[in-house]
Structure formats: structure tokens, C-alpha cells
């Protein structure tokens, strides 16, 4: 994962006086699944559209494979894009939609490529029903098939599981993971954070057009992990006691007075007991557990307060 595929430097998009995305910086490496998290209107779609070449940035730079994308349209050819609603002709079949696009790409064996893709997303290539009669889930699958036509290196999916039933969500998730295993780098935005947490390897939290946090899956897991937050007079004095008396090995020293204990088998009263016995003063102690949603809300609320 050392291959930097996309680098965003100070990317900004303004619509008249409204700033949709402000000064965004991000590096995306080969094989990553980057989850973009943000409220409605946070700037997720605009960011993905800029990366996909649909919208021009007002300022900032996009680099693909360490080369500036400006003036190099060929880089955008390597992206498969599904942003907002799938772009499909409603009055023709799934096959015909793909056939039209395959013509535009100049694909040789169109029939084989289309049948393979439809099979991959779980749609029947013999189905002649018009797309307008498709369910939301079928449209989303077809949208993914459209994005995959032309064998892109990067797949950009904006809310791909919107409106899907639980079965559909599981199937799309599996498909995304399969595509990632096959080597695709994926950028995905979603409101369904728990679902995103099952696939993304990197998270970007965006709020009012600004990136407020970029963190890896491990970092997020650590932040959302159950822990005991311990405030003491002197962490240096407390640690040997905790290690010796309670065999605590999973902990993190946040600062000179704060320690996070990640050991699930330890109870607050045990810590209070051993530290009191050793005469170490406890300032505060509390159990802390956050879901991804809570974490996201906390981060966006604090960012909102900063803006206000």
C-alpha cells in the first residue's frame, strides 16, 4: 500500500459565494477503501465529482500517480464513477445501457464484457425489462456495473447502498470487498456508518466542506474501543502498580495525568482498590465506549462549534 494513486492538495470548490469543499488534502494509496463520512451537504459528492473529473476545482491540485491531473484527461479514464443516482436511460434495458456505454468506450467484444459485468453484479443479461421498472437495488447494481465497464483502477461510489434492503446491502458490500481484493482502489461515501465501518480501510470525516479528520481503520477502532479513562496525580507512579497488581498490559498514556486502559477484564473498582492501597490519588475514572456514529457526531459537533 505504498503506491500513492491519488493526491489531493488544497482542493477547493466554490459555487458563487458558497464553498462546497475547502482546502482538502488527502492521499489515497493503491488498494485502499476510503470511506467519506459527512452529513447531507457536507461536500462529499462535490469532492468525489472533482476526483472523478465531473466538476472542476476552483483551486488546488489533483495528482494521479504523482503527476498533476490538470491537462492530463487520460487519468480520469481510469476512474469508474457512480455519483448520486446511476446515469441510466430509463426506457431501455440494462444490457442496452451497458451496450451504449461500451460503444462509447470502443470495447471490442461488447457482448462478453457486458454479460460478465451483469453476472458480477447479480443481474440477468437476458432480462429485457426497461430500467424504469427496476427496483432501487437493481439500479444501484447496474450503476456499479456501468462504473466498472472499461476496467477502471479506481472506483468512486457515492451512497451506493442508499435505498437498498438488508439483503441488497450485504450483497453490495461483498461485491465491493471482492472488487477491492481484485485490486481496485475504492472511494465510497455513505450515511450508513456502521456499514462503512465494515469495509473502509481509511476514513475521511468531512463537515461543512472541510476535512476534520482523516484516520485509518486501526486508529478509528482504537478511538471507538471500550476503555477505562483514568485521571491520576502522576501517571508514572500509577503504571507500575497497574502492571504489577492487575497484570494490565493494554494501556495508553495520553499525558502525564491520563491513562487509557483497554483491558476488557478489568473493572473500575479493581483499579480504584489497588491504587488507593498504594496511596495514589485518583482524580477521575470512567468507562468509555463509542460507536462509529457517536464518534462521528462528536467530531462534527465539535467542528460545528469551532465554525460558530
Amino acid at each position: 500500500m505504498t503506491d500513492c494513486m491519488i493526491e489531493i492538495c488544497g482542493l477547493t470548490k466554490m459555487y458563487k459565494s458558497k464553498t462546497a469543499v475547502r482546502n482538502a488534502d488527502l492521499k489515497i494509496y493503491r488498494g485502499e477503501i476510503v470511506g467519506i463520512i459527512g452529513r447531507n451537504g457536507a461536500g462529499k459528492s462535490t469532492l468525489l465529482k472533482m476526483i472523478g473529473g465531473l466538476v472542476y476545482p476552483t483551486s488546488g491540485e489533483l495528482h494521479f500517480f504523482n503527476r498533476a491531473a490538470a491537462g492530463e484527461q487520460s487519468f480520469f479514464e481510469r476512474m469508474g464513477v457512480l455519483i448520486e443516482n446511476p446515469g441510466l436511460y430509463p426506457n431501455v434495458s440494462a444490457y442496452e445501457n451497458l451496450n451504449l456505454l461500451a460503444m462509447a468506450y470502443g470495447l471490442g467484444d461488447r457482448n462478453a464484457a457486458i454479460e460478465k459485468l451483469l453476472q458480477l453484479v447479480g443481474l440477468d443479461s437476458k432480462n429485457t425489462a426497461k430500467v424504469k421498472s427496476y427496483s432501487m437495488g437493481m439500479r444501484q447494481r447496474l450503476g456499479i456495473a456501468v462504473a466498472l465497464l472499461g476496467s477502471p483502477d479506481v472506483l468512486i461510489l457515492d451512497e451506493p447502498i442508499n435505498g437498498l434492503d438488508p439483503q441488497g446491502i450485504v450483497e453490495i458490500r461483498q461485491l465491493i470487498l471482492e472488487l477491492n481484493t481484485a485490486g481496485l482502489t475504492i472511494l465510497i461515501s455513505s450515511h450508513i456508518l456502521e456499514e462503512l465501518s465494515k469495509i473502509a480501510t481509511k476514513y475521511v470525516i468531512i463537515h461543512q466542506g472541510e476535512f476534520i479528520e482523516v484516520l485509518s481503520r486501526e486508529e478509528l477502532q482504537q478511538r471507538c474501543e471500550e476503555r477505562i479513562e483514568l485521571g491520576v496525580e502522576e501517571a508514572r507512579a500509577a503504571l507500575p502498580v497497574l502492571e504489577r497488581e492487575l497484570n494490565i498490559t493494554k494501556y495508553k498514556v495520553v499525558d502525564s495525568r491520563t491513562v487509557y486502559v483497554y483491558d476488557e477484564n478489568i473493572h473500575i473498582r479493581q483499579i480504584v482498590k489497588v491504587l488507593s492501597e498504594q496511596g495514589i490519588m485518583i482524580d477521575s475514572i470512567a468507562k468509555h465506549k463509542q460507536s462509529l456514529e457517536q464518534y462521528f457526531l462528536e467530531r462534527t459537533e465539535s467542528a460545528g462549534e469551532r465554525h460558530d
Binding site: 472523478g52 473529473g53 476512474m79 446515469g87 436511460y89 456505454l101 462509447a104 468506450y105 470502443g106
Partner: protein
């Protein structure tokens, strides 16, 4: 470019609206000839409509507002562009190299084909209608007819490109259709010509696209040929470049 054109041609060939418009145009053209026969009134010193050659008949028809051919062209242009734009299908291929430029060029070629088909339909309908109701199918001087057809084809194609520009910029079916109807009725051209006559005495409005299109031309006069082809070429270039430039800079939201 060729690939995008292939895609657009495939869509064009399967476009029911195109066939419907051609059929309607053909039917109304024949019906129009029937009505001309029924209500024909001889004017002293003028050749009756039923005795006009095909060249003269075409000029007579086009100069009668509203130009139905322009209305059909406007409807098709807007429908063909907006059906792709509203479905969002263009977003699937727009990231391809030079796709924005090629997409507009491909649309321009499709519009040229449609306009050519309209003229072909008109010739067939005129031939059938004049045969049936006038019992007169004389084409007149062939060179004049060909010059007229090429000149009118270019002017009508330029009009379709103008409508394409409007549809691209307005991004709205109703606004584009309204603008198309207003232009086809030549409201703007007539108002400008009237203002010009009242205020300045200069006659620049005759070089406007629709004014040139509806004006009865004498193709034996070099000045008229230069005027027709000059206006058509300038309009095709101007609106073509405008359409391409707009698409190149457009944010596809």
C-alpha cells in the same frame, strides 16, 4: 470521437421521437398542400402556388411563418440532448479523454443527419402532395434547387446548433422549448428589423440567422448566395464553438 458518434448514432436510430417527428412532418406537409389547393385564390400577376416549381414551392413554404420545420428541429434537438442530460448518462463517459469536445461534435453530426432527413422527408412529401393535389411536380432548374437545398440545409443546421446551445445552457426542457418556439416564429428577428427601420435606417438584421432563413432568395444573384452561405457558415462556427466551449467548462452536477 468515432466511438461516441457510434453511440449517438445507435441511440438516434432507435429514437422513436425522431421517426414520429418525421412522420408528423410528412403528414402535415401533405395536408398543407391539400389545404393550399382547397383555398387557393388566384392573385393577378402572380404564379398560382399549384404552378410553382419545387424550388419556388420550398422558398414559399419556408417564408410563411411559423416555419414548422424549425419547430420540429427545435423539438428534436432539445429532446435528443435533454434525454441524455436528464438521465445523467453523459456522466458515465465524460471522464474519457476529450469526451466533452467529442460529445458535442457527435451531437452536431447527429443534428446534421436529422436536418438532412427533414429535407429528404420534405422533398418526398412535396413530391407526393403536389402530384396528388396539384398534378404538377416540376422541379425547376436543378442547379438552383440543389443550391437552395444546400443553403437551407446549412441554415437549418445552424439553427439546430443554436437550439443545442440554448438547451445546454438552460438545462431545462420548458425554457429550451419556449426559446425554440420564439426563435422559430422569428419574433426576435421581426422586432429587431422593425426597431432598426424606425431608429437607424441600417439593415443589419437581414443578416440574422432566422431572417436569412425565411427570406425568399434569388440564387441567380451572387450576393444572395454569398449572404446565405456566409450567414450559415458564420452561425455554424459561432454556435458550434460556443457549444464546445460551454461543454468544456461545464460542471456536471
Amino acid at each position: 470521437m468515432i466511438n461516441l458518434l457510434k453511440m449517438d448514432l445507435h441511440r438516434f436510430g432507435r429514437n422513436r421521437m425522431m421517426y414520429l417527428l418525421l412522420l408528423l412532418f410528412c403528414a402535415f406537409q401533405i395536408f398543407g398542400i391539400f389545404m393550399m389547393k382547397k383555398y387557393e385564390q388566384p392573385v393577378e400577376g402572380a404564379i398560382p402556388v399549384s404552378r410553382l416549381t419545387e424550388s419556388e414551392f420550398i422558398q414559399y413554404n419556408i417564408s410563411q411563418p411559423p416555419s414548422w420545420m424549425l419547430i420540429y428541429i427545435a423539438v428534436f434537438t432539445i429532446y435528443f440532448y435533454m434525454s441524455e442530460f436528464n438521465s445523467g448518462f453523459h456522466k458515465n463517459y465524460i471522464s474519457m479523454r476529450n469526451a466533452r469536445l467529442h460529445s458535442v461534435c457527435s451531437k452536431l453530426i447527429i443534428l446534421a443527419i436529422f436536418v438532412a432527413m427533414m429535407f429528404l422527408t420534405m422533398l418526398i412529401a412535396d413530391g407526393a402532395g403536389r402530384r396528388l393535389f396539384f398534378d404538377h411536380t416540376a422541379l425547376g432548374d436543378l442547379a438552383t434547387l440543389i443550391t437552395l437545398l444546400i443553403g437551407q440545409f446549412l441554415l437549418h443546421w445552424a439553427f439546430s446548433i443554436l437550439i443545442l446551445c440554448i438547451a445546454m445552457i438552460a438545462k431545462n426542457l420548458l425554457i429550451s422549448l419556449s426559446a425554440g418556439f420564439i426563435l422559430a416564429l422569428n419574433v426576435i428577428g421581426m422586432v429587431l428589423a422593425a426597431l432598426e427601420a424606425q431608429l437607424t435606417g441600417i439593415h443589419l438584421s437581414k443578416y440574422l440567422l432566422i431572417n436569412t432563413l425565411v427570406r425568399v432568395k434569388d440564387f441567380n444573384s451572387t450576393a444572395d448566395i454569398v449572404h446565405t452561405f456566409g450567414v450559415a457558415a458564420a452561425a455554424i462556427l459561432l454556435f458550434g464553438i460556443l457549444a464546445v466551449r460551454y461543454k468544456l467548462k461545464e460542471d456536471l452536477n
